[in-house]
Structures are given as structure tokens and as C-alpha cells.
Amino acid sequence: MLTGTARLARELSVTRSVIKKEYKMWRRYPSRVLFMLLMPFLSILTLYFQGMALVGGTTSEAFAEYAGTNDYLAFIIIGSAVFIFVSTAIWGIGNAIRREQMMGTLESIWVAPVSKYTIFFGIALFDGLFSIYIAFMQLLFSTIILPVNLVKPEMAIIVLVTALLLFSLYGMGFLFTGIVLLFKEMEDFTNLINTTLRMVSPVSYPLAAMPAPIAIVALFVPLTYALSAIRGYVGIIDTASLAHNAAILVVFDTAFLVVGSIVFTYAERRARRRGEIATH
């Protein structure tokens, strides 16, 4: 029987190996990194051009009435930077099982004498670090190319708030992994979930501008509170205190982790019983 310290050392060693493996995978496909760097910026540019076509500049008085700021460009750039964490988590942890299935390495990982949760934790940690890099690059690109300046020390709050958000995403990752085990074919569905989450969260537009049914859904998405906390802290909008939003995020973290774990455990048992772990 291992002591507590020895068990912790073993789990940390597994986490380190998972991070190393994920890093090697990204290095093996540099085009994927380039894609991750460019894609969020392309979506910012798309909205920027739409804004120019509708209001002829980067400010809007109507937007100020909904959001509390007329600077819609800064609003969407911060939203997009934070959404990178969500997107990476959904594609990363949510598709981890599917990826291993496709590569033919799932069975080896499944029979390894380590906790699945430690493996997922390693993936989540790597995704978190990778997202920090991508989000920073977005702020940098935007500051260089567009008429905004968002490379400021207070933007480090993004890292702190998303660290709280990460546990919800981790729970969401369990949930999607369970869905992959149950339904296979994840590519299209992940894409839909990713786009839907962006649609129902105040990433590119404020909560007040959403139609009522979408705004109600947004209230149950943790990203809404993370964005509110960050935008409020950097002075773009007036919102509830950072501590208030952080407390709400902790509640979401707990709920998503519990629900995600239950779905994942159920799906894994079902897949094992039916002999479907490695099939796709």
C-alpha cells in the first residue's frame, strides 16, 4: 500500500508524462498551432468588419446602452481571448478519448494502472497553459493590427479568473468524454457545442442584447460570470464585484465536476460492458 506522499508523487509523475505527450503531439503538427493562433483572430476580424459596415467605427452608442461601454471592439477581443480557454477545453479534454480511439492508443491508456482522472487533469493542465499562450497572442495581434490597446498588466486577471473557470471546463470535459463513449462520432457535435456556447455567452455581445430565451440560457453558463468578472475588473463595464462573480464560479465548478463525473462513470461502465471502448 502506497503512502499519501508516494501516491501524490505517482500522480504528479503521470500528470507530467501526459503534459509531455500532449506537447509532443502539438509539436508533431505545427500547422495545428498556427491554426489555433489564427482562427480566433479571424473571428475577431469578422466582427470588426461587420461593426465597420453597420456603425462605421469601433464605438456604438446603442452598444453602450446594452453593455455599459461604447467600445465594442475591446469588448469582443476580451470575450474572444477568454473563449479560447473554453474552446481548447472542449476540443481537448472532450475529444481526448476520441483522439486516442482514432490513433489506436486508447486500449493501452485504459489498461494503464493510473487514474483516468489524473490523465484528464494532465490534459486540462496542458490545455490551460496552451490557452494562456494563445490568448496572450490574440491580445498582442489585436493591439498591433486593430485600434485598441489591450496588452496591459491588469489583463493578467484573465489567467486568475479562467483558473477558476477551468474546473467547470474540466467537469464539462468529463461530460463530453462520456458523450463520446456513448455516441461516438464527435467532430460535428463538438463543433456545434463550441459554436452554441459562443452564441449563448456574452462573448461578442452583452447579455442585455440577447433575445430572452438565449439570455436565460446564458445565466447557466459559467463563462458569463467569468467574462463579467474580467470586463468589470479591467474597467470596461460596471458589474458585480470580482468576489461575487468568483463565488458563483466556485458553485458552477462544483456542479459541473459532479455532473460530469457521474456521466463519465456511467458511460465508461456501459462501454466496457458492451465492449465498445475502442470502437468508433
Binding site: S31, E65, N191, Y205
Partner: protein, 294 residues
Amino acid sequence: MQNEGHEGGERLQPIRQTTRVEAFTALLSIAKHELLISNFRYPLRIVSRFFGPLVWVAPFLIFGRALLGGADSQTLESLTGISHMPTFVIVGTIVTTISFTMLWLMSFAIRLESYRGTFESIYACPVSKFIFFMGKLMASSIWASFYIVGLLLLGVLVLNIQFVWTRFPEMILVIIMLFFAMFGFGLILAGMVLVYKESHTLLHFVDGLFSLIVPMAYPLAVLPEALQAVSRALPMTQAVIASRNLVIRGESLLVQSESIAILLAYIFIAIPLGYQFYMRMEGKAKKKGVLHKY
């Protein structure tokens, strides 16, 4: 062709050319497979197909509303002569959704068979690849017609879009031309996907780039000049421009000569070029032994 060296001198039957009826049957089977079997095998895909276009267009509409506080824009009117933002966006979305659906389906036509484990069976069938791709084209056109109906319902019932409906049949004609124009594009991408490993990444990037430069939610005039020039050369841009002129401004198809000329050029030049490119890439993939790999 005859097999001379067969034991006992018995000759194998020569491989005969498939008849037109057989080719058409194969085409229908491929379309049916793509539409029904491959989708119903994976129920999550059906969900994605139905809700995809809605979640694609909604952010542009909500963002537009947040900026305008309503539906009309004076800036948009001064740039295009059209002030109603939702009408402008819905037409752009109908055309681009169709284009992107087709690009995905066509370019993954072969690669998907590798994933599904049906690649070898399909490859061994005595049916030309052109028929195979036409079957995929037929499937994507049926999906696209669902999208058109869905987006139009959204526009009419929720967004109060202002169409000149008498010009709608002409817009459908433009969309049919776009289908064939995009066929060549799809063949080129299908060829690239055969030899390029990270094909999802490539296609997502192409998708993102086209979303930026095709005037879906904004007019060409707001893009930098270099991007405008690239965009004007694309069939989906011409289809968006022509469709807006038809159903929003009420112009006749006869005065959309630039758009029609570019679409026809794609139909008559890009399809043969795309097919040649695809066959060359297939030969390259065979030589490298990566045809069935992903």
C-alpha cells in the same frame, strides 16, 4: 482486357464499361448512403446538421442588433443601398452555409470512407470517381435545400426579412450555378486532403478564411482592397452579391453579368482542372502508400 495466363486456358470475362443506368444507380446509392445511412448511424450528427446553420447565423444577428439597437443601419445603406441588417445577413448566410457544407462534404468524401472502414470496398467498385463525387454533390444539395428552407423560415417568421419574392426563382438558379462552381473547388480540396495529414485543420482554416473574406455579414467595401480583389474572384462572393441584388434590390438576373460570368468560368474551368488535380493527388497518395491512411 483479357487474362491470358489463366489456368486451363479459361478466359476471364473482359471488364465491361458500366452503362449510364448503372452509373446513375451508383450515383443514387452514394447519395442515399451519405444522406441516410452515414447520418442515422451517428445520431449526434443529425442534431448538428439541424442546429448548425441556426447557431452559425445567430451571433451575427445578435451582434448587429447590439450595435444598432434595432435592425436598420444608415452606414450599411450608404454602402450598399440596403438598410435592413437581418435581410442583408440572411441572404449572405444562405449562400455561405451552402458553400461551406458542400466544401466539407466534398473534401472529406474520400477521407471519411477511411474513417468508416468502407474505403477499400468503395475503391474497388467499378464506378468512376467522378460519379462518386457527383453522388456526394447530390447529397450536399439535398442537405442545402433543408438549410435554405430553415433559414428562410427563420427570416420570415422571426426577423421580418424584406425580400422581392418574384426574384426568388432567379436566386435559386444562382445557387444551382454555385453548386457546380463549388464542385471544382471541392475536388481540389479532396485531392489535398488525400495527401495532407492534418486535413481537419486545413479545412477549418479554409472555412475561417472564407468566412472572413466572403461578404456574408458585411459588404465587400469594408474589406481592405487586396482582400476585396481575392474575394471578388471567389464563386461564393459572386453568388452572395448576385443573390442580394436579386432578392433585396429586385434587380434582374440579366444584369448580374459579372457574377454569372465568374460562376460559369468556375463551372467550365474549375471542374476539369479540379478533377485532374484530384486524380494527380490520388496517384501521388498511391505512390506514397498513404491512400487509405489518416
